[in-house]
């Protein structure tokens, strides 16, 4: 197995793509992390306490995983979707009866969206009770709160897109809440809906918000969020020599 690995990873073509040998030495394992665009958000070594499942439940990473699944399924759904009335609803029916695996695609997108809202919320709760928002991480917590709101808005804008009764009246409730804001409420509502009622302009706005604006905001904020965690020395861990709360056991 190791010989096969060496054959595959030792040749010139492989080495032109991945510039290090088979990762069976600590040197190559280190190179595997910091010479890789995607893995270099991690340090080369991590503290053993930091990677225990029960410490983070990997909630931050799983939220990002949900976003990845949502992006892939979302882009595929865009191939079959027109943000206009009544085509939007017709396309839902097409997904159900015409498109191969259309139901599966929509289901996966829907359940991943619910999962992402729940996981981001749980991530926030976990981080709070770990006290990880304390200096120097206080601004990263603020970014996290904004990310939570962005996630809710992403889910909410996506909720209208099927253009069925559930979507229409669910979004009506939310839009009325926005409309209750003093002074700017009516204008905010008008800006959001592109009119006074939920109609085709609202559908188009929600579509653009859902597919372009909010994901872009989310990606930029997540990049800052992760970068700052890395710059602050990885995930927060309580000091080892703390005498209270069971001391060294933490």
């Amino acid at each position: 197995m190791s010989a096969l690995g060496r054959l595959l990873t030792g040749n010139r073509v492989w080495r032109s793509i991945v510039r290090h040998g088979f990762p069976d030495s600590n040197r190559n394992r280190a190179l595997a992390v910091f010479s890789n665009l995607f893995l270099h958000v991690h340090p080369v070594k991590v503290r053993l306490r930091a990677i225990a499942f029960s410490r983070t439940f990997f909630l931050g990473g799983l939220a990002a995983a949900c976003f990845l699944i949502l992006t892939i399924t979302g882009v595929l759904l865009m191939l079959y979707y027109r943000p206009s009335v009544p085509e939007a609803y017709d396309d839902m029916k097409d997904l159900e009866f015409v498109v191969s695996s259309g139901v599966f695609l929509r289901n996966l997108h829907r359940w991943s969206a619910h999962a992402m809202v729940a996981i981001v919320f749980l991530h926030m709760v976990r981080v709070f009770f770990a006290g990880a928002y304390r200096p120097p991480r206080e601004f990263n917590w603020v970014i996290g709160v904004v990310l939570f709101v962005t996630t809710i808005l992403l889910s909410y804008t996506g909720y209208l897109l099927p253009w069925d009764q559930l979507a229409y009246w669910g979004v009506t409730v939310g839009a009325n809440m926005a409309g209750a804001t003093p002074w700017i409420g009516e204008d905010t509502r008008f800006l959001l809906l592109g009119g006074t009622e939920i109609g085709e302009p609202a559908l188009l706005r929600f579509y653009v918000l859902h597919c372009v604006i909010l994901p872009a905001v989310l990606v930029v904020l997540v990049a800052i969020h992760i970068w700052r965690v890395r710059k602050d020395g990885g995930i927060y861990l309580p000091p080892l020599d703390l005498s209270r709360d069971g001391g060294g056991k933490r």
Binding site: F129, P135, E138, S155, Y156, Q165, A180, G185
Partner: protein, 239 residues
């Protein structure tokens, strides 16, 4: 970091093109040390990367199974003239919608959620010290009186402004209040009471938010039927 930073004379004119006099500035470390640690460490690859991969695959598998077993809901086409009853927002807004049942939209839809988001954002600027004196350590009697008064005030405000009996709001508040006051009347250093005594004020505020949000959301999702009337999920199903 404690040394005053050295002053440099900017190079001007021809001088600026010549060999630079300043190649490097060594600045004091301003970040927490990433590398300086005595505790056990492991290589990120494979130990962390493999764990992340397993977590990702487990989540993917779970979501795929859900997508195969349960279909996303799709009602009839949107019809502005035919209102749904009950008119329910997505589940993560049902806590807010439940709040709308008790308070006017400006309070339940704008002021309260806005205040919660602002409170969440500013929490880290207030809870700074890891080593702080415990809340009940000093001036216990006056703090007890103050805490009871604050909880009483919040309870009366919630009850006074509510358009219906506000038990779903008072329950979480009083539960958190009882847990917070317990070490105040029973000084015990060990066990659960001791643990409660060591919690900070932001902890209690967050716990209150959390418990209230979860309670209201559960009620909104499972116990509200047509006309936002109380219903039981095992009797009428989930609306």
């Amino acid at each position: 970091m404690s040394d005053p930073s050295p002053t440099f004379r900017p190079e001007e004119g021809v001088q600026a093109r010549e060999v630079p006099v300043r190649l490097l500035v060594v600045q004091g470390e301003q970040r927490p040390a990433v590398d300086a640690t005595d505790e056990p460490v492991v290589m990120t690859f494979p130990h962390l990367v493999v764990r992340e991969l397993i977590a990702f695959l487990a989540l993917s598998l779970l979501l795929v199974v859900c997508a195969l077993l349960f279909d996303a809901p799709l009602e009839s086409m949107a019809d502005p003239s035919k209102a749904m009853n009950p008119m329910k927002a997505p589940w993560y807004f049902l806590g807010l919608q439940e709040l709308l049942h008790y308070y006017p939209p400006i309070v339940a839809g704008v002021i309260l959620p806005g205040a919660v988001v602002v409170a969440l954002a500013i929490v880290p600027y207030f809870d700074i010290n890891l080593e702080r004196p415990e809340f009940w350590e000093r001036r216990r009697a006056s703090k007890l009186a103050l805490t009871v008064a604050v909880f009483g005030l919040i309870s009366s405000l919630l009850a006074y402004a509510g358009q219906h009996p506000v038990w779903p709001l008072l329950g979480p508040l009083w539960f958190v209040g009882a847990a917070m006051l317990l070490p105040g009347v029973w000084s015990r250093r060990r066990g659960l009471v001791g643990w409660l005594a060591r919690r900070s004020l932001p902890f209690w505020i967050f716990a209150w938010f959390l418990l209230t949000a979860v309670t209201l959301t559960v009620i909104g999702v499972f116990f509200r039927g047509p006309g936002w009337s109380f219903t039981l999920p095992w009797r009428d199903g989930i609306w």
